[in-house]
Point group: C2
Chain length 188, copies 2
């Protein structure tokens, strides 16, 4: 991240935690690139992070060091096995900083759970790839606010089921008013 001519650059933060789903995330990354939106890849620490398909990635910042005033938006990819993230103190501490800050947040597949454990789903309608049994077991979801739809937008929050990763990306880009060509992602 850079300061240029004293102007604070505003980024979309992209969380990279171990076992993040590469495919659920990467169309969104491309939308951000098309829209010339600056991005910062944020790790739980500064170690290499392997996605669920094994792609080794390098965070550019960490949840503990990042100045959240530099973010106007945040993306949480899904995780196939997120046991290691349940009540993760650094992740929860980071996400709680956004409870009273009006930024665009996108969470897909299992990632809405990470929002719910941090209080960011309170009072919001949402969807998730987690089953009813999983949501009940986890104990942090408001069942009445769940919608069985591919993508749900409530205010500045967009949530999606995993297979809706293309729509999720398009909606996120639209919420940031980015200029991009959807045809990159849709076969003629």
């Amino acid at each position: 991240m850079n300061h240029s001519m004293g102007v604070l650059i505003i980024y979309t933060g992209i969380l990279l935690y171990p076992r993040f789903s590469e495919y659920e995330l990467s169309v969104l990354l491309s939308v951000l690139k098309q829209g010339q939106k600056p991005t910062v890849y944020i790790g739980l620490n500064d170690q290499v992070v392997k996605g669920e398909s094994g792609l080794p990635c390098v965070p550019e910042a960490t949840v503990n060091e990042l100045d959240i005033r530099q973010l106007d938006s945040l993306v949480l990819p899904g995780v196939d096995d997120f046991a290691h993230l349940v009540d993760h103190p650094d992740l929860t501490g980071f996400l709680r900083k956004f409870r009273k800050k009006d930024i665009v947040i996108g969470a897909i597949s299992s990632a809405p759970y990470l929002l719910s454990m941090s209080g960011l789903l309170d009072g919001r309608k949402y969807t998730t790839g987690l089953t009813a049994d999983q949501r009940k077991f986890l104990g942090t979801f408001n069942g009445a606010h769940y919608l069985d739809l591919p993508v749900v937008i409530d205010g500045n929050l967009v949530t999606a089921k995993g297979p809706a990763f293309i729509d999720f990306a398009i909606k996120f880009g639209e919420m940031l008013n980015l200029n991009f060509d959807k045809r990159w992602y849709i076969k003629e």
Copy 2:
């Protein structure tokens, strides 16, 4: 990569060159993961590689050090600007090793050019996201073998246009006889 009990593990090699397209690649990575196929991420060297959307990735091997007997398949993601790869000596040298070896190869978007510059498209029908003008300018494509289709399979070679990245991934997995659930990638 590991040798286990003296058994040689056979991998799908995934090339990571600067500006590779994350979204054109990542559904295929997920198919490989679902199918429990070992993978190795191969760089042109051992430096961190940024994809076209800026995702910083770490190669696990390099084109110069990898023993190609460990590969039964190879993936070439697209690149938005591949000027830096034209006649790249290490990349061309690596790819030429496969001219007489019958492995499954997948190339999407602009990546069929990398095959053509290395002689791997000779006598093969193919598609690509490159335009007729671009193909002519590059001078390594056989115009008569181009097919204007989203995905083309010729023997052990699968090529695709960028927006067909999901079909490309499914076809590649099928060519390796992998067991996977396509519904992960297709919205209901």
